[in-house]
Amino acid sequence: MHDIADLEARGLVGVFLASSEFQDAADAQSRALGLAVSYVLVPHPIQDRTDEEMTALADAAYDAVLAAITDR
């Protein structure tokens, strides 16, 4: 999240993806940084997913990612 905050400061539009376990940490880090960085959550767990499952997670998150980086 620090990376996205830094890149926003450099003028880029940014979003990061994290597992749902990350929600509280994300909100705390936003407060600490003073910037409400855009993020999209995907369902936990991640580590033991198959390729097909990861691909499905990406598809499921795609629209939310676009919504975070465009003005639609």
Binding site: A9, R31, A32, L33, G34, L35
Partner: protein, 478 residues
């Protein structure tokens, strides 16, 4: 503040007089009600009722500046006090005789912790009536305070001093004006700017409190209709306010009127000009690329402020020549800085010709009356005029003569240059009519710089007259 009835002593253990009077405190405790407020160790004196005032709130509210301070309290309020140890005063105040028989008759107290350097300001801020009304900005834990200013667009590209409440309160002590007094309505957003807002921007700029009165005067001058700050900002020409300071204030606050006066290195010069620009940016909303349309700009838009060298000047102070005596400043819409080299002229006539040759180029050599200029005469050049007995009027008259040419010479197309005075205008006046380079009063002369250097500086101006900017001179108050 509600106090316990009877006698109250404010003290600190770390004070020889306070420890000296310990037996007296026991005597008073035995004789009637005594409450001790301790600024450091609530265990001292042992055996007495001691209130812990290590936060110094009570000491501040009671305005204690010396310890021990003895108060008599009736119905919750102070009716008398004694400061330090003086037997006769303590006996009179308490009505108890025979206090401290083994003690000397008197002993001065020590400084109260509540008035130590920096502590009093912090207590003022913590317990005092809130005088600051500017919106507060809370920084996030991981936010760097210098980056925070950049992120919010508060800077001119260089870092600014973080405007903490303590710094702004300290800055406000530099003026006797009330923080909520409106100084000016600042363009382009036409915002009412208070003394407090100027102080916040003066902190950003790096000013000291003693610089604030000059900044306040500069802001007021810039926001007059005559100076036309909006026009100065919005023009595509590289215009920016130049502050020329006169009078005792310049020396009092350590301004530079000598070597490198127009350059970097002096805090007052650097920060006063910068504070004015930051007010225009932050309060007025004037920013490059938005209302500020300066096509190329110039470094003087970071800051441009210097003091006139009055002692060495061949002329009266600039502000005085414009009707304002004493501490005052003149604001000029300048578009750059260029030196005129003349290392050989021994006569005023020759030097005037060199200066005129330079001045001819202000704006464009074939444009007359349109632009003002500020000539900053160096001491070595000034000496030539002083030794010849030329005053300001004499030099201006000489330059005016040298810079007045027949209108026909300035017409568009003449000398192969498309630029120039409109032919229709010239036809209306007459081809032979002499046109002065500068409108009456459009050439200002100041005196500053080091004593070695046969160069003066021309500051070409922005457009003069209605619709342009009028050089503006104002007094500097407190």
């Amino acid at each position: 503040m509600q106090l316990p009835d009877g006698w109250v002593v404010v003290l600190k253990r770390d004070c020889p007089t306070c420890t000296l009077v310990e037996p007296v405190l026991h005597q008073l405790a035995d004789a009637g009600g005594l409450t001790v407020y301790s600024q450091d160790d609530p265990g001292f004196p042992a055996g007495l009722t001691v209130v812990d005032d290590s936060e110094l709130e009570s000491s501040w509210r009671l305005q204690v500046d010396t310890v021990p301070t003895l108060l008599r309290v009736e119905d919750g309020a102070e009716v008398a006090r004694a400061v330090g140890w003086l037997r006769s005063s303590w006996e009179e105040l308490t009505g108890v005789t025979g206090l401290g028989p083994d003690l000397p008759d008197h002993r001065p107290g020590c400084g109260s912790r509540s008035v130590e350097w920096g502590v009093e300001e912090e207590l003022d801020r913590r317990y005092g009536e809130r005088i600051l009304t500017a919106r507060t900005v809370e920084l996030a834990d991981l936010e760097d305070e210098y980056e925070a200013a950049y992120a919010r667009g508060w800077t001119d590209g260089l870092p600014v001093v973080p405007p903490t409440e303590a710094r702004v309160l300290a800055m406000l002590k530099g003026t006797s004006r009330a923080p909520d007094e409106v100084v000016a309505v600042v363009p382009p957003d036409l915002v009412e700017c208070t003394v407090e807002k100027v102080a916040v921007n003066a902190v950003l700029a790096g000013c000291l409190p003693e610089h604030l009165p000059v900044v306040l005067a500069a802001v007021a001058a810039a926001c007059t209709d005559g100076f036309n700050m909006h026009g100065v900002l919005a023009t595509t020409m590289p215009a920016g306010p130049v502050v020329v300071v006169n009078g005792p204030v310049a020396r009092a606050i350590g301004m530079n009127s000598g070597v490198n006066a127009l350059g970097q290195g002096n805090r007052a010069n650097a920060t006063i000009g910068r504070a004015l620009q930051l007010v225009v940016r932050n309060v007025g909303g004037g920013r490059p690329g938005e209302v500020d349309r300066g096509s190329q700009g110039q470094p003087g838009k970071y800051t441009a402020c210097f003091a006139e060298d009055e002692e060495g000047s061949p002329f009266d102070p600039l502000a005085e020549s414009r009707g304002v005596e004493g501490s005052a400043l003149t604001l000029f819409a300048g578009c750059g800085w260029w030196p005129v080299v003349d290392q050989l002229s021994r006569t005023p006539e020759s030097l005037a010709r060199s200066l005129a040759a330079g001045l001819r180029g202000v704006g464009h050599p074939k444009l007359a009356i349109v632009f003002d200029a500020l000539l900053v005469l160096s001491p070595e050049h000034g000496r030539v005029f002083r030794e010849a007995g030329w005053d300001r009027a004499r030099l201006l008259a000489e330059l005016d003569g040298l810079l007045t040419v027949p209108a026909a010479e300035l017409s568009r197309g003449v000398d192969g240059m498309a630029e120039g005075m409109p032919p229709a205008m010239i036809a209306g006046w007459g081809q032979a009519v002499p046109l002065p380079k500068f409108r009456p009063g459009g050439l200002l002369i100041a005196h500053a710089g080091g004593t070695a250097g046969l160069f003066s500086t021309i500051v070409p101006g922005w457009v003069s007259g209605a619709g342009g900017s009028e050089p503006t001179t104002v007094p500097i108050g407190a």
